[in-house]
């Protein structure tokens, strides 16, 4: 009783640590067994940060339960985007430079509900690995970080199910054996009641404060997987995933919009460990279909204008890899991956009197063939070295309306770890990376409305060269990591007409609005974690500087990257107030301080004249790109996690408060022409959150 009272008074508690708990967990995924072996032997996370869903769910989120991306946003080296969003900016890279994969399949539209959560349900995920450097050879086609999601295989022994609910998402998951011990199936579905919530809330909001006449939403996702285990050394799986976000809103009787994005993924995967000369053999084939669209209807001077724009990516990937032991302490992994993709960005059509015009086609095909290999050498508890190499042959403009061509890029990664004392040591990573597509980022919320275009002769692939050096230690309950990084980026794109992002004319000529440049980033990272039976806490800190340079912009002057946050600090704690077999109570708290991001503001003005006009026009002028730094982002969240386990059913409830300080963290700025002043707009005040989950 005393403990419960104490928990109600104390607000600062511990969160559960997430690292290095894998020795007893069998994970079948695309990671090479030798790598996992090395990880166990060294006792450290050679694969970066590896997260398990029960831990990521406890991260604070407006949805009441977090996800992998929300957790990753609290790690060192990671800067966040706008309030509440799922955007991450890793070591100075852009949001579009990160890759999220599910069983090796890239996911292009990663967020639901405008960034409030990611599209992959945590119930599907066995493990999330976040890598910011020292990448294995099979990881490619990105220049910042890789969020690698590994799906569960399902339960081969018994049926289990779960149901979850929060104000934004309702979901259900089931896993059952088809043939006990050898075949299993699992399925997840989530839908959002947000449209119904709006209709319920609408009468309570004053009419003159309502901006939207009407609003409708359809958001959800579904996943299914069949796994067949022929024997201990052979398994085959087939999985499907689909997600949909569609939002329709009417501002007034003359204007309505519908915008949305969707993903459809299919994957067939085979793992074999029975071939004598090969330690492991893996093959898979996947298909990926991503669509982003916007439709706008406006009534202008009596005429109905109906404009539709769609961006589509269709991708087929075939890959295979194998691992050979080359010695007692070394192994060699090699493979090939061939990816054919069809990009069709900003295809548009107009509805006229004679019906809708055919979609203006902007398609362009690409083929990326990658030969990869890595050699790894480890001395248990002493040394680990990994040399990874990739050779990329990239063909563009296939079957499309752009010029054809091809290019070749070698790239690779180096990872060195040396324990100078037992369980602590030094680490060095060096990566040369290439990405063969660009995300023309518009609204900086991490929305999947961003347009993705393939690289070609005029938009060369993004390239990055980065290095990291630091120290690490895993001393019982205490884990630390500290280091410094430096990164150079080339062929970054800057979309110069973001103001007209939804404008048909501008979108059709998007290629003309792109500037190509470079960026530099460097910084210090620090992480400390302590996981105890009762109290666990984690602190991370990043000091970094990141800038950009585009010869044709800003008069050729360097300027800060938008999310160049000089200081980023997170402090999270979890206190197990009560831990019984059938009942547990945790109190958690999270505090974050981040230097403000940068915005471009019109801070000056001059007079301009058009032909034949005597009266001048007062023209806003920008002294520099990203010339204004928003106030610091400070947020304190607190919550309670309650779990009640019965014989067959387990209940979990998260209740908490988001932004306890009710700080007006600025999201953007706008110019109030009436008052002739700039104002910050902040979105999320103090807000309660709740989520419920039941497992069978």
């Amino acid at each position: 009783m005393r403990k419960i009272l104490l928990s109600l008074i104390l607000l600062l508690t511990d969160t559960v640590l997430i690292f290095a708990q894998y020795q007893d967990r069998e994970i079948r995924d695309t990671l090479q067994a030798a790598v996992k072996e090395a990880r166990r032997n060294v006792g450290l996370y050679s694969e970066g940060y590896a997260l398990i869903p029960v831990k990521t769910r406890q991260v604070t989120s407006l949805l009441g339960e977090g996800d992998a991306v929300k957790y990753i946003q609290t790690l060192p080296g990671v800067s966040t985007g706008g309030e509440g969003g799922s955007a991450i900016y890793v070591r100075g890279g852009n949001m579009g430079s990160n890759l999220m994969t599910l069983d090796g399949m890239p996911i292009y539209g990663v967020s639901h509900l405008l960034g409030l959560t990611t599209i992959i349900p945590e119930d599907v995920v066995a493990e999330t690995v976040f890598l910011a450097g020292g990448f294995p050879s099979e990881d490619g086609n990105f220049t910042a970080s890789h969020i690698r999601l590994v799906s569960k295989d399902g339960n081969f022994g018994r049926t289990e199910a779960a149901f979850s609910a929060n104000p934004f998402l309702l979901g259900g998951w089931i896993s059952a054996p088809i043939v006990k011990g050898s075949a299993s199936a699992q399925a997840v579905i989530r839908v959002s009641p947000i449209g119904l919530v709006y209709k319920a809330v609408k009468p309570m909001i004053k009419q003159n404060q309502l901006l939207l006449d009407d609003f409708g939403a359809l958001a959800g996702d579904a996943y299914g997987k069949l796994t067949w285990r022929k024997d201990v050394d052979n398994d085959l799986s087939l999985s499907f995933f689909g997600s949909q976000d569609r939002y329709a809103f009417t501002m007034n009787e003359t204007s309505s919009d519908v915008l949305g994005w969707s993903n459809l993924l299919a994957n067939l995967s085979w793992n074999n460990r029975s071939i004598s000369c090969l330690k492991t053999l893996h093959a898979d084939m996947s298909f990926n279909h991503h669509v982003g669209s916007q439709r706008q209807k406006t009534l202008f001077e009596g005429a109905l204008n109906d404009f539709l724009m769609r961006s589509v990516i269709d991708e087929l990937t075939v890959s295979g890899s194998a691992t050979i032991e080359t010695g007692l302490r070394s192994n060699l992994q090699f493979g090939i991956k061939v990816r054919g993709a069809l990009f069709n960005p900003a295809a548009s059509s107009v509805m006229g009197e004679e019906g809708r015009s055919s979609l203006l086609d902007t398609r362009s095909g690409t083929l990326l063939a990658t030969l990869h290999g890595q050699w790894e050498y480890s001395i248990p508890d002493l040394f680990l070295a990994r040399f990874a190499f990739r050779g990329n042959a990239f063909a563009y403009g296939l079957g499309g309306r752009t010029d054809k061509g091809w290019m070749f890029h070698p790239e690779g990664s180096l990872l060195l770890r040396w324990n100078f004392i037992r369980k602590a040591g030094l680490e060095v990573t060096v990566d040369a990376l290439t990405q063969y597509y660009h995300t023309l980022e518009g609204i900086p919320l991490g929305w999947s409305l961003d347009m993705i275009v393939s690289s070609d002769a005029t938009l060369p692939p993004e390239r990055a060269l980065q290095g990291y050096m630091g120290a690490y230690g895993n001393l019982g309950q205490h884990l630390f990591r500290a280091g410094a990084f430096y990164k150079k980026m080339r062929n970054l794109v800057y979309y110069g007409k973001a103001t007209d992002f939804f404008n048909a004319v501008s979108r059709a000529g998007w290629h003309d609005n792109i500037n190509v440049g470079e960026g530099t980033s460097y910084g210090l990272e620090f992480l400390y974690e302590k996981e105890g039976p009762v109290l666990s806490w984690r602190a991370s800190y990043t000091w970094s500087k990141s800038d950009r340079f585009f010869p044709d912009l800003n008069e050729g002057r360097r300027f800060p990257a938008k999310y160049d946050r000089r200081h980023i600090a997170h402090l999270a704690a979890d206190w197990k107030v009560l831990q019984r077999a059938s009942f547990s109570l945790d109190i958690s708290s999270q505090f974050t301080y981040q230097s403000g991001s940068w915005d471009t503001l019109q801070d000056g003005s001059l007079t301009g004249w058009f032909i034949g006009e005597k009266d001048g026009v007062r023209l806003p002028l920008i002294s520099s790109l990203n010339n204004y730094q928003l106030p610091a982002y400070i947020r304190w969240d607190g919550g309670v996690h309650l779990a009640i386990a019965g014989k067959a059913v387990k209940h979990e409830v998260n209740i908490g408060v988001y932004n306890i300080l009710n700080r007006h963290n600025p999201f953007m700025l706008r110019y109030n022409a009436e008052l002739e002043q700039w104002e910050t707009i902040s979105l999320i005040p103090v807000l309660p959150y709740i989520s419920y989950r039941v497992l069978f």
Partner: protein, 405 residues
């Protein structure tokens, strides 16, 4: 704190109550001079100098003191201060030549820029051509009855079916009974050109024509509106059934053309063929002829400009010289062209959308001033009067002389 719902966060507004707080913004960086100087064919050029001010300030802060020169290869023409922030330079730019602007400030700072004057001789050629081809069923008749004719009105060609009908049937008539909103021009070998129009009413007032449309394939769509040209909107029956039928037929083919706001911007056209000779008006004579010429609309060598006359009032009882349309062809230097597009686009935003930081716009402000900001450009304007009367022409109605052979 004021509670607001920013339009740009529509999809979150219904759930989240956004708040706003004021911030102070001040100009960052060194104080800059804004330069505005556009060379014209006048004998006096104007250079305006002001200090860039903060966004909030509405007043212009003029530069007090500076030495201003416009230089060509041989000579530096000095400027003389004539007003607050305004210097006048006596010189007449020549087409095709390059000029440099030099400004010396008292603190030792120097500002410079370079521009070239559009070559007037290749700016615009106005050709006349056989109108008869537009009247398929009467073509033979026309050729038999009279030699190929072309008509000049002022220094521009005014051509459409109804006009031709007027000419054919109403020789000597001095008034028209309905508006003629369509004008067909040939634009040849020009640099980037802005076409605008104004209506000169009987009261002497010039009213800009708000909407223009064209079938020119290289017209810039950056200022398109959502309005479409509908000839019936401007049609006024004359009472003559045959005339009205031809009028309707001739202009309805332009129905559906997207209307542009206030002006058309035409990129540089391709080469023209050699089958046409230039014909210029000779005072006192209304007609000239040309032979061996056939218009080919699909080759972009001819295009039509149609305009909305909704803000013009026609009075059929007034004399033919009292009401006319003026077409302006403004050929501009490359830097000035980019500047004009920017000014136009910014003006639209100032009229409508609020400024926000959510969309970080391209801050590449068009200009060519070294050591400052602003524009040093050049423009050559040719204006053509289009009378409704078929019997009258007045030569070049505005300042500029027509080109001479």
């Amino acid at each position: 704190m004021k509670r607001v719902f920013p339009p740009v966060v529509l999809l979150l507004a219904f759930l989240l109550l956004a708040c706003s707080d004021p911030v102070e913004i001040a100009w960052k960086g060194e104080r800059q001079v804004s330069v505005y100087c556009i060379l014209t064919r006048d004998s006096l050029q104007t250079v305006r100098l002001s200090w860039v001010s903060s966004l909030k300030d509405g007043k212009e802060e003029w530069v007090d003191d500076a030495q201003v020169f416009i230089r060509d290869k041989g000579y530096a023409y000095p400027g003389k201060k004539v007003n607050a922030g305004e210097w006048a330079v006596s010189m007449t730019p020549e087409p095709g030549k390059t000029y440099w602007l030099e400004i010396h400030l008292p603190d030792g700072k120097e500002i410079s820029a370079e521009t070239s004057c559009p070559d007037e001789r290749i700016l615009i050629d106005v050709d006349v051509y056989q109108p008869a081809i537009w009247l398929e069923e009467e073509e033979e008749n026309i050729r038999q009855k009279q030699p190929p004719l072309a008509y000049e009105l002022g220094v521009c060609q005014f051509f459409n079916e109804s006009f031709y009908r007027q000419f054919k049937e109403m020789k000597g008539a001095t008034t028209m009974h309905h508006v003629m909103p369509g004008l067909v021009f040939l634009l040849k070998d020009s640099v980037c050109c802005y076409i605008s129009a104004a209506f000169h009413g009987r009261d002497g007032q010039l009213t800009p024509i708000r909407y223009l449309a064209t079938n020119h394939k290289e017209s810039d769509n950056f200022n398109v509106t959502k309005k479409q040209y509908q000839s019936e909107d401007y049609f006024s029956p004359s009472g003559n059934e045959l005339r009205d039928r031809y009028d309707r037929a001739s202009f309805s083919k332009y129905n559906g053309l997207v209307m542009h706001d206030s002006f058309l911007r035409i990129e540089q056209t391709r080469d023209y063929d050699n089958g046409v000779r230039n014909v210029y008006p000779v005072s006192g004579h209304a007609f000239s002829t040309v032979t061996d010429f056939k218009p080919v609309e699909s080759a972009n060598k001819y295009f039509t400009v149609v305009g909305s006359f909704e803000n013009a009032v026609f009075d059929k009882n007034v004399g033919p010289d009292d009401e006319y349309t003026i077409l302006y062809f403004s050929s501009v230097s490359k830097e000035y062209d980019r500047y004009l597009k920017y000014v136009y686009e910014r003006k639209q935003k100032a009229d409508g959308d609020m400024l926000t930081s959510l969309y970080s716009d391209n801050a590449n402000i068009p200009g060519n001033i070294e050591g400052g900001t602003g524009i040093f450009g050049a423009i050559c304007v040719k204006a053509f009067a289009c009378h409704r009367s078929i019997n009258r022409f007045t030569g070049n109605m505005v300042v500029y002389e027509p080109p001479r052979l």
